[in-house]
Symmetry: C2
Subunit: 421 residues, 2 copies
Amino acid sequence: MSDLSEKIASANAEAFGRLRSANPVWVDVQLAIDCLPGMTRETVLHAGPPIAWVDMCGPQKMGVVQAVLHEGLATDEAEAEARILAGEITVAPCHDYNATGGMAGITSASAPIAVVRDEVNGVTGHSQLFQGPASGLQDRDLYNQEARKRWTWLTEVLGPVLGAAVRHTGGIPVKPMIGRALQMGDECHNRNSGGSALLLTQLMLPLCETCDDPDLLQQALAYLIENEQFSLVLSMAAGKAMAEAMKGVEHSTIVTTLCRNGVNFGIKVSGLGEQWFTAPANRIEGLYFSSEYSDADAVPDIGDSAIMETVGLGGHAQAAAPVLQQFVGGSFARACGLMRDMGEICQGELTEFKVPNMDFAGVPAGIDIRKVVKTQITPVIDTAIAHRKGGVIGAGQTRAPLAAFEQALRAFGAAYAGPRP
Amino acid sequence: MSDLSEKIASANAEAFGRLRSANPVWVDVQLAIDCLPGMTRETVLHAGPPIAWVDMCGPQKMGVVQAVLHEGLATDEAEAEARILAGEITVAPCHDYNATGGMAGITSASAPIAVVRDEVNGVTGHSQLFQGPASGLQDRDLYNQEARKRWTWLTEVLGPVLGAAVRHTGGIPVKPMIGRALQMGDECHNRNSGGSALLLTQLMLPLCETCDDPDLLQQALAYLIENEQFSLVLSMAAGKAMAEAMKGVEHSTIVTTLCRNGVNFGIKVSGLGEQWFTAPANRIEGLYFSSEYSDADAVPDIGDSAIMETVGLGGHAQAAAPVLQQFVGGSFARACGLMRDMGEICQGELTEFKVPNMDFAGVPAGIDIRKVVKTQITPVIDTAIAHRKGGVIGAGQTRAPLAAFEQALRAFGAAYAGPRP
């Protein structure tokens, strides 16, 4: 093994060790302005790698404008757009603020945020609570009106009620929840029914004990009962904390970010710090929730939820959730085969996250850009499909684009290997 | 096909059709005296086929005495035993009172009972709520004291609180709960985490809406949160309703009861009505929850919970719950293999109960005594292990004894085929 190979091997073992040792604990729900480092009242965060507002896909572009209005930074859409174009509003990726955002990922100062702390590695991950109304509202104005109503409710009701209950528990460790959810048919990206039920079970009594207002309690409970994807919020915040822990290990070729903004797919690599490598986001192969939708309605791959694949879940754990194969016309054997493929491009198995359906094999985690480029096998992402006018209209699978990994490997070579003799 | 074969084929199709069409709905929780047909204040029911009190295994024998004391029918154990021996107490199988009882199955007049009604077939199934303290109490007197405390609490608190909530819902259909639980890692006999979480989710708001006393509400919620096997109560009551629907089809060779009393395993067959066929119960291959226990502590196979295998769940659906293979040193492939074996002895697949891990195959249901005897493949039963002094101390798998099916087939021949020429 060459000197560089040895350094990489050791660096990757270090990064993977941090993923293993991480103990992310859900400790609070706070407003973005109060918990995200660097957040300002004039900042609007979005999913995926950096992108200028004018270049965004429909729902994200629209979401930024609505957030400016929601925060009282403009009185109408024209003024909001003018302020954005004048650079008076900071528009930036959630990922660069220690956060993640599902789908369009719109996160503004007053957004309630799940705070997940890992004391082992001394890092914190965040995720906005899910925001939007989902599908069925493709009238643009109606959609935006409903979205802003939901944001207000999340800030005023769900955030405070949940926050009090979570603080009352003294913190809810997220890895055990994920581990048990994998035994309950979840892969913790597109399917979260088990995890959400587990969280609800854990939160029920603390909610009753900390919320004095029966109406607010009932509203919060009803939301948690109906929202079977709720645990993804915590899985994402925990995933972000775990990925942060892996960051900045010199010589490491392990991926620390996978995310998409509906236009581009972006990755970061441990040994290359905060540098982005991007390529056009792929379309999603899947099913629409209603026959009224078709590929023409869908934006390409969008959202920071691919943080789950970054830490070995979602598409990397798909045999745990064979139900999802229905979305891609697949089979249990296909799911197992794809997981074995992911093993080819990963540093190792995360044995805390076992897949009972594969005789308790750990999920393949720690994507190595060298292995991706060498094998041409790209990460499989389980993901929802967004409508170009807003809302979630389907679900399926896609692949990360190879070009982003090729770019990253070239940059890695330039940074560490120097010019070839 | 002979005339008899044709009649059997048509009868079995009829019995299986009733299993398919059944729509068991959890409608209420009532006291045994108020809902079980034929129940009296001087009756104590037990799990498994009929057995004289003196011949019972330890925990069941002890349980009958405690029930007599609990119901105020005697003032001390000596008097209770004397009354039982004098025939002043009716001791009979739950199954003959339209009910099922987990483990020892002790069910007396004041026991709260889950009532599950199937309007399609016009039948009702019942199950006692689970009773006992579990393991760790093998001091006989202490165990009995705790058991009777728990019975009182179930009658006074859980039964009324749950009953009000369930009536408030207008009824909870059980088949959809089971169908979803199979997607959440349950096989609905030894593993019920998904089903219990689903029921809790469905009951939470109705419980809050119908229970005015915060202390009682909290007690009931805490019990449901901690008791991950709770949904088995409903699955068993629904299983009993489904099995009842299959009963009494002339010429049918389909099994309508599988149950055990810790001494004998008993079966009934559709075309042979209420006649019992028994053989010694097998021991259970499995793991003990603590290293302090060994085979010497365990009674043989006990409980009416094999009603789940009777309708195609539990051991018949084990690939849905690969987690349980840990109890038998098995593998996912083993679980799938055993399910395929069960297909060899069953009438068909119950497509409402799909196993995603086997590409959505329906569970094999409707055990045919002819096929069991011909193939010598006996039903696999997932089951818990009872301590001979009371309490659940482990879990594993066992097989139904072939001899019971051979007896039943001989009786079927005598009843329908007449003497051979």
